[in-house]
């Protein structure tokens, strides 16, 4: 097992580097000049000023040299300075990642907690009203566009019924908890500030529902399909013949086998939630990585784009690794 993990880690490192190389080349094929995009009109027309700024980010150097510099900085744990925010990319990421991590994790938990039981019941009581309800929920979740769902929920629960808080992570005049992890729920709990905890939790409800919607649908459907497949297996028939209670058959025999594809799906879905929250973050004014990534991309902010690509690649690869390892644990045949 350790050897298995080690070989995967080496592969992870190589893959991450390859990802940065691909993104570096792609980003450089776009003809725009990120410096001109950042400067005011007067400064953008001042050749010396532009040259000075270009030199500041090494944009005047040949492509290969720039990539080598990137690698060299990387070896010191430095992702460079963002052109747009003019701060170290790592610092930007540190500022924006917690908001996304918190939102994505809550959404992920939500889609598992609701999706798996719903999928199980839909399978167990196939063609009953629960199955239809589950189908409806997943259909709505998968097919409603994020921006639409986000806005409808805001308009109904915040604007109309006034039972949910508005956009943002906390109330407009509330102060964030003292920063330890950057995750407001955790930080406020650590500080024992329960008013802020409740406020932050309430602010998470709508965006996490929006973000979870699609994943929830997917998990429900996959769980159902996988359960149904397992229910046809001989060992289920044997278990039933032995006179086991239905509940034990479902939990002890069907579920563990049915969950294997969910592990893969869940892992990838989590990675997706972490990186794909741009629209949700925009509508809910969520100060997360999604917005930052989007802005970096549209302003051709090379250092930020490279840094984020690397981080996203690593996140995906780590999650894949976790999936593979848990596969190995769930199904001993994999390692053999």
């Amino acid at each position: 097992m350790p050897q298995y993990i080690l070989s995967r880690l080496v592969l992870l490192f190589v893959m991450a580097l390859l990802a940065t190389l691909v993104i570096f080349l792609l980003a450089n094929m776009v003809p725009g000049d990120p410096v001109l995009a950042q400067l005011g009109d007067l400064a953008a027309s001042n050749k010396e000023f532009v040259a000075e700024w270009r030199a500041k980010w090494g944009l005047d150097l040949p492509l290969w040299q720039r990539y080598l510099i990137f690698l060299q900085q990387l070896s010191h744990g430095d992702l460079g300075i963002s052109i747009a925010s003019q701060r170290p990319v790592l610092q930007d990421v540190r500022d924006f990642a917690p908001a996304t991590l918190e939102l994505a994790s809550v959404s992920f938990a939500l889609s598992l907690i609701v999706g798996i039981p719903l999928g199980i019941m839909a399978a167990v009581r196939r063609d009953s009203w629960i199955d239809h309800l589950a189908r409806l929920i997943s259909l709505i979740g998968v097919s409603s566009p994020t921006f639409w769902l986000a806005f409808i929920l805001l308009a109904v629960f915040y604007g109309g019924l006034q039972i949910a808080p508005g956009p943002g992570r906390i109330d407009s005049i509330g102060l964030p908890p003292p920063s330890v992890t950057g995750l407001y729920l955790l930080d406020s709990a650590l500080a024992g500030d329960w008013a802020t905890f409740r406020d932050a939790a309430a602010h998470l409800v709508l965006p996490s529902i929006v973000l979870a919607a699609a994943t929830l649908g997917l998990i429900t459907r996959t769980t159902r399909a996988s359960m149904l497949e397992c229910m046809q297996q001989d060992y289920v028939r044997v278990a039933r013949a032995k006179g086991l209670r239905s509940r034990r058959i479902v939990i002890g025999h069907i579920l563990p086998n049915a969950l294997i594809p969910i592990v893969t799906l869940g892992g990838l879905a989590y990675a997706n939630l972490l990186t794909g929250a741009v629209l949700t973050e925009t509508i809910f004014s969520w100060p997360g990585l999604g917005r930052y990534t989007f802005r970096s991309a549209v302003s051709l902010d090379f250092p930020a784009i490279m840094g984020i690509t690397l981080i996203v690649a690593v996140v995906y690869l780590i999650i894949n690794l976790v999936i593979d390892v848990s596969y190995a644990l769930l199904d001993p045949r994999v390692v053999r």
Partner: protein, 541 residues
């Protein structure tokens, strides 16, 4: 089989599904903040462009509002008057005896938010820092040679070209006074090597050391900026204990928030959202006149387009565009249109003058001009634009409108959407092969900044070799001391620029800000910092 496996009953299922709803209900936003809210002003605005709150590094659109609340400049402009200056930290100003610069008399008894008195040294140091940091604001005062202390309440700013304008430029929030002692203690430097020696950016972004009505207490990127009352403010006790500039990127979310009273003002509403507010007794609309404008630049490089190289053909475009239609039907009337690059409200530019000397739709004349240019049956050119919107109107929609207008005189427009970075790169490097739809707001309210842009850098972008005369006219107008004569010169300049027909100003937005009636005075300004935050007051009730 389904029945036999029924290990969960209906009630438990509903409980499970109810978790989400329960969470929603259990966390009703508490009203514990109600009391705090009374003394707090909350503004809802998209501040994602804010990358620094350091006055000497300022270059963005929304950050000047915050900076102008925390710091003061020597002179300022009152909302509605963008020609005459008002005193701020300086009470009097006049030319220096030798005529080479300006002499300022500082206000007495001004204190920083620390309680320490403001001195001439602070003023000089602040200007030195801008110049030596060499960031974008230094470009606007490139004409400043040096700052000299005369005595403890008098300071001179000596210019390289004494006749060139200064006062209107230094009224902008880039040119404010910082408390030297505090700034230096936090890493700031005004020395010659400030470019590398100044390490204050981080501190200055989340704190402030000015004389303004409020003090910056926190800035969480893409979340909010917090300002607290400056107890030592020279202009009397500021009315709010706290101001929160809340980042809400989406207009629809701003609308919901201002309706509910979670924010006191919403800055980024589009016309449809504004229309939906009519009839809401708690919210009023305040017009924010601006000195920004959206324009189309047109190349005259024959290699790019033979027709566009002919002046009459470009003028035909000018007479074919339905400007009133753009303003009335696309912007709901909430816009002005100057004749050329001098927005309505500055010297030499009024709506009346614009009507007299600017382009207006006249299809017959456009056709005549086309015939004169030798393109009786029209011609073809491309219009490039970015994926953005101003005042809720996308460049795409503007392009479509112009396309259909020009089709009426036989000119065929090919629309060419681009991402903003490419558009800007193409445009600023003079590679645009037709028209470009874009936007401009100058860093300060000084006619010269607009006019010089046209004859210098923008001229290069459209491949216009500007005649000596018009370049001379700009400096003549900018340095004219008599206001009446100056206005006349600016009118003359606009006439010549209009005739050249390579820039068409499409509209000058009048943004509609939704303000709740919890706020009494809300002095919006076109001068570049949007709102005089120090003069915002709460309603009596």
């Amino acid at each position: 089989m389904a029945d036999r496996l029924g290990w969960i009953d209906r009630r438990r299922l509903l409980q499970l599904l109810g978790v989400t709803g329960g969470a929603l209900a259990a966390n009703l936003p508490s009203r514990v903040f109600a009391q705090a809210r009374k003394n707090t002003l909350v503004l809802g605005i998209d501040i994602s462009d804010t990358i620094t709150l350091d006055p000497a590094r300022l270059a963005q659109y929304t950050s000047p509002m915050t900076v102008s609340a925390a710091y003061d400049s020597l002179v300022t402009m009152k909302p509605g008057d963008y020609i005459n200056l008002s005193p701020s930290l300086a009470t009097k100003w006049a030319r220096t005896p030798d005529g080479k610069g300006w002499r300022f008399t500082l206000r007495e008894g001004v204190k920083f938010s620390t309680g320490n008195p403001m001195t001439v040294e602070d003023v000089k140091w602040s200007f030195d820092r801008i110049i030596n940091l060499g960031d974008q604001p230094s470009q606007y005062i490139a004409n400043v040679d040096r700052v000299e202390i005369v005595d403890k309440s008098t300071i001179d700013i000596i210019l390289k070209q004494p006749a060139e304008p200064l006062l209107t430029i230094i009224a902008a929030p880039e040119f404010v006074v910082l408390e030297r002692k505090v700034a230096e203690a936090n890493g700031a430097s005004a020395a010659k090597d400030a470019k590398t020696a100044d390490k204050a950016a981080q501190w200055i972004n989340t704190n402030s050391c000015g004389t303004g009505a409020y003090r910056i207490a926190a800035w969480e990127r893409n979340q909010q900026i917090q300002l607290v009352r400056n107890e030592h403010y020279w202009g009397g006790k500021p009315p709010f204990e706290r101001i929160v500039i809340r980042h809400i990127s989406d207009g629809a979310a701003q609308l919901l928030a201002v309706r509910r009273g979670d924010i006191d003002a919403a800055f980024n509403l589009i016309p449809e959202q504004i229309a939906s507010l009519k009839g809401d007794a708690n919210v009023r609309l305040a017009p924010l006149a601006s000195l920004d404008f959206v324009y189309m630049a047109l190349t005259q490089e024959p290699e790019f387009n033979k027709a566009l190289a002919v002046k009459e053909a470009r003028q035909a475009i000018g007479y074919a565009i339905d400007y009133d239609g753009i303003i009335k039907s696309m912007l709901g009337g909430a816009a002005l249109r100057p004749a050329h690059f001098l927005p309505i409200g500055v010297s030499g530019s009024t709506e009346e003058i614009a009507r007299q000397i600017g382009f207006k739709q006249d299809l017959a004349r456009a056709k005549d001009l086309l015939a004169k240019a030798g393109f009786k049956d029209g011609f073809e050119f491309e219009i490039s634009y970015g994926n953005a919107a101003v005042q809720g109107v996308t460049y795409q929609d503007l392009g479509l409108k112009i396309q259909s207008d020009l089709a009426r005189v036989g000119i065929k427009v090919n629309l060419r959407p681009l991402d903003q970075v490419n558009l800007r790169t193409e445009y600023t490097t003079g590679k645009s092969k037709g028209g470009v739809l874009t936007f401009w707001n100058p860093p300060a309210v000084e006619n010269q900044l607009w006019a010089a842009a046209v004859v210098q850098r923008v001229a290069k972008r459209v491949h216009w070799t500007t005649p000596e005369d018009i370049v001379k006219l700009v400096s003549q107008a900018a340095t004219e001391a008599d206001p009446k004569k100056q206005a006349e010169l600016w009118v003359e300049w606009q006439k010549q620029a209009v005739d050249q027909a390579n820039h068409f100003v499409l509209f000058q937005p009048v943004y509609q800000i939704a303000v709740r009636n919890t706020v009494k005075d809300f002095p919006l300004t076109a001068a570049g910092w949007m709102l005089d935050l120090h003069d915002v007051t709460p309603s009596a009730s």
